[in-house]
Symmetry: C3
Subunit: 339 residues, 3 copies
Amino acid sequence: MKMMLVEIASLINGEIAAGDTIEITGITNIDDAGPGDITFAVPPHLEKAARCKAAAVIIPDTAEEFSKPAIRVTNPRMAFTTLLNLFTPKPNVKSGIHPSAVVNASARLGTNVAVMAQAVIDDNAVIGDNTIIYPHTYIGRDVAIGSDSLIYPNVTIRENCQLGKRVIIQSGAVIGSDGFGFVTVGGKHQKVPQVGNVIIEDDVEIGANTCIDRATTGSTLVKRGTKIDNFVHLAHNVVVGEDCFFVAQTGIAGSAKIGNNVTFAGQSGSAGHITIGDNCVFAARSAPINDVPAKSFYAGFPARPHREWLRSEAAMSKLPDLVKKIRELEKRLAEVERQ
Amino acid sequence: MKMMLVEIASLINGEIAAGDTIEITGITNIDDAGPGDITFAVPPHLEKAARCKAAAVIIPDTAEEFSKPAIRVTNPRMAFTTLLNLFTPKPNVKSGIHPSAVVNASARLGTNVAVMAQAVIDDNAVIGDNTIIYPHTYIGRDVAIGSDSLIYPNVTIRENCQLGKRVIIQSGAVIGSDGFGFVTVGGKHQKVPQVGNVIIEDDVEIGANTCIDRATTGSTLVKRGTKIDNFVHLAHNVVVGEDCFFVAQTGIAGSAKIGNNVTFAGQSGSAGHITIGDNCVFAARSAPINDVPAKSFYAGFPARPHREWLRSEAAMSKLPDLVKKIRELEKRLAEVERQ
Amino acid sequence: MKMMLVEIASLINGEIAAGDTIEITGITNIDDAGPGDITFAVPPHLEKAARCKAAAVIIPDTAEEFSKPAIRVTNPRMAFTTLLNLFTPKPNVKSGIHPSAVVNASARLGTNVAVMAQAVIDDNAVIGDNTIIYPHTYIGRDVAIGSDSLIYPNVTIRENCQLGKRVIIQSGAVIGSDGFGFVTVGGKHQKVPQVGNVIIEDDVEIGANTCIDRATTGSTLVKRGTKIDNFVHLAHNVVVGEDCFFVAQTGIAGSAKIGNNVTFAGQSGSAGHITIGDNCVFAARSAPINDVPAKSFYAGFPARPHREWLRSEAAMSKLPDLVKKIRELEKRLAEVERQ
C-alpha cells in the first residue's frame, strides 16, 4: 500500500483539513501506528490519537479542531473498515481439490471451490461456488454449504446440516453435534437419538471452537446475519433470529427462541424453553430464566431490567452500613424504651 | 417410515383411544409436526399438543380426555425415544480402514471396526469390535477403546487413556490433555509432568469440544453411564461417579471427587479437592467451594442449600425497600428521642 | 524405575531420617501410592501421607517427626517435580516428516523436527529445531514456531502468527482465529477484517481447546512464561504480561492490557479496554470491569477488593435476619410512639 492522503479521503468520502500530499503506507490501530500509518479515532480516544505516531487520523466530522492531519467522515469505524477491506490482500488460496483431500465421488462442488489438504467431504455433500474448505475440515454426508463461504481448519460439520452463502466458520467449531438429550429410566440415562439438523442462514459468522448442536427432531436454526463469537454453546432446537450478536463463552439452553437483533454479551446465557423478544440486550454474565419482552436491557442472574439490577447492586454496596445502622437503631430504641 | 397408529401403539405398549388406521409417516417434536407425524407431550404441554398439526400424540396414561388421536403410555418420553431408535436409520458407515487413514502396524483392531478417512491410530492402540472412528480423529499410543464405541471427527485421545464399551465422544473433544500443574520457583512457573491418564468407563457420552485432562499421577476417572455435555472441563485427578449429568460449560477443578447420580446444571462448577456426595443437584451457575453431603440441592456461588439461596434472593429483592425503611425508622426514632 | 531411597535423596538434595536401602519403584500421589512408591506431602496433608501405603514420603524440612520413611527437603512439590521429570520417559517420537503429512516446499524446518501423520504445514512456515508437530495440526502461511516446542494433535495456528521457544500447545487450541469485530450500518453487521496476528513468547503453555484471537491490526500478545489452561478466551488485541496464570474457562475481552505475574482463577474474566497492574489475583468467577492497580486481590462481579467482597458476602448472609430485625424495630417503635 502506498497512497496520498487525498486519495484515501476520496475513497472514504471524507474531508481533509491539511496534508493532502502526505504519503500513507499502512493502516493500523492507535497504539501500533507508526509515522507512515493512518489510524482512526472516536471519542473518548481523540486526544490519544492526536498524540500518537500516525501520519494521519480518520475522525468524526463532528470533532473539534485536531492537531494532526486528519480526514473527517460520518462514521470513522466504517471508513476504517472500508480501507482495511480495500488494502487487505485476499488469501492466496488456489481453487481445486488438493491431492491429499478425500472427496466422495457423490459430492457436488461448484466452480472455483478450494478443498485444501486433507479436508474430507463425505457422501452427497454440496459445496457452492467460490467456497474455501481449509485443511482437516470434515463435511458430513448430505451437508449443503452455499457459495462464497469460508470454512477454516479443523471444523466439523456433521451430516445433513445446511449452511447458507457467505458463511464463515472459524477453526475448531462443531456444527451438528448431538444435542444433550436423555431419558432416565430406573436411574440409567438412555440416549434420545438426535435426528434433526442445524440450519445456518446467509452471512452468519461462527467463532472458533463454538458448538451448535443438532435438533432432536426438526432444526436448530441461526438466521441471516447473526454473528457468533468463540466458545458459544447453542443447544438443540434453539432458534436464533437475524442480526444477533453472541459474545464469547455464552450458552443458550435447549429450545430457547431468540428474536432479531438481540445481543448476548460475554459469558452470558439463557435458560431453555423461553422466548426472548427482538432488540434485547443482555449484559455480560447475565442470564434470563423466563420470557423477556422485546427491547429489554437486562443484567444479573437471574436477569432483570438493568435499572433494577443497578439499584440492587447499589443497595448491596450499602449493606455493611445497614447492618451497623440497624444495630445503632436497636440501641437507641432500647434506650428510649427504658425511659 | 410408514405405519398404522395401531402398529405403533403395539411397539410401545400403549393404548389407543381412536384412530387405529391412521397412517404415520414421521416422528418429530410438537412444533415441527405436520399432518403425517406422531409426536409426544407431557404436562404442561398437553394443550399445545392437542392444537398442533400432528396426526397423533403419545400422552401419559394419567392424562384426561384428549381431543386428538392419541396413544396412552406410562412414560411418553421413553416411548418417543423407543420410536426414534426404531426408525432412525443407522449411519451408513462401511467397516474397514480407509486407504487415507494411518494405522500403526502395532495397533490391534477388533472385527467390524471402521477407521474413516485420515484418522490416525498410533502405536499399540487397541480398538474394540464395531467401534467407529471418524475422520481426523487421533488415537494416541497405548490407548484402549472398548467395543461399540463412536468417536466423531476431530477428536483427540492422548496416549495411555482407556475408554470402555459403548462410549460416544462428540467432535472436537480432547481426552488426556495435560493437567494444569506447575511449581513456581523464583517467580517462574515450571511444568509438573502429567504422567497419569484418563479412564472413561462403559456407556459414557462426552460432548463436543469437552476436555478431560489426564492425571498428574494416577487417573482422572469418569465412571459408568455418566453423560457430559459440550464445553465441560474436568481437571486432572477429578473422579466422577456413575450416572451423573454435566451440562454445558461446567468446570470441575482438580482432584474433586464427585459421587454417583450427581447433576451439575449449565455453567456451574466446583472447587478442587472437595468431595460431593451421591445424588446431589447443583443449579445452573452454582459452584460449591466445600464438601457437600449426599442428596443436597444447592444453588448460587458459593453454592448453598437451594432454600437458603431462595431466601437470600428474596431478601435481596427487598433490599432497596429496606434502605428506605431504615431511613424512615431513623427519622421516627429521632422524633421520639426529641420528645 | 528402581532406586534406593538414599539415591533419590541425593538427587533432590534431601535428608533421610531412616530407610536408606528401601527400594523405590514408582512415583505418584498420596491416594494412588502403593507399597513400592514414593509420594510427597505438604501441610495439611502430612497426617494423611503418614497413613498412606507409600514406601516413603518427601516432606518439608520444617515438618515435625514423621512415622514413615521420609526425605526432608526445602520444597517438596519442587523435589517431586524434579523426580517426575527424571523418571518420565520422553515421548518416543521419531524426527522427520511422516509420508502422509503435507509440508509446502517453501516451508523451512530446523534439525530434528518431527512432523507427524497428516499434519499440514503451509507456505513459508518456519519450524525451529527439535519441535514436534502432532497429527492433524495445521500450521498456516508465514507462521514461525521456535525450537523445542510441542504442538499437540488437532491444533490450528493461523497465518502470520509467531510462537517462541519451548512453547506447548495442547490439543484443539486455536491460535489466530479472527477477532470478533463488526461495524453495524443500518442494522446489518459488517465484518472488520482482522489483519493482525498473535505473538506467543518463549515458555508459554496454552491449554486444550483454548482460543487466542488475532488482532484487528497489530498483535495479540502473550509474554514469556505465561501458562494458560483449557477453554480460555483471549480476544483480539489483548496483551498479557509475563508469568501469568489463566485458569480454565476464563475470558478476557478485547484490548485488555494485563501486567506481569497476574492470576485469573477458574471461570473468571475481564472487561475489554482496561488495564490490570502487575501481581494481581482475581478469585474464581470474578471479573474486573475497570482498571485495577498492581498487587490487588479481587473477587466477585463486578470485581472488588477481596475484603470488601467478604464483608458484603457476610452482610448478605445476615440479610434475612435483617429483614426480621427491621420488622421488629418497626413494631417496637410504633409501640413507643403510641405511648
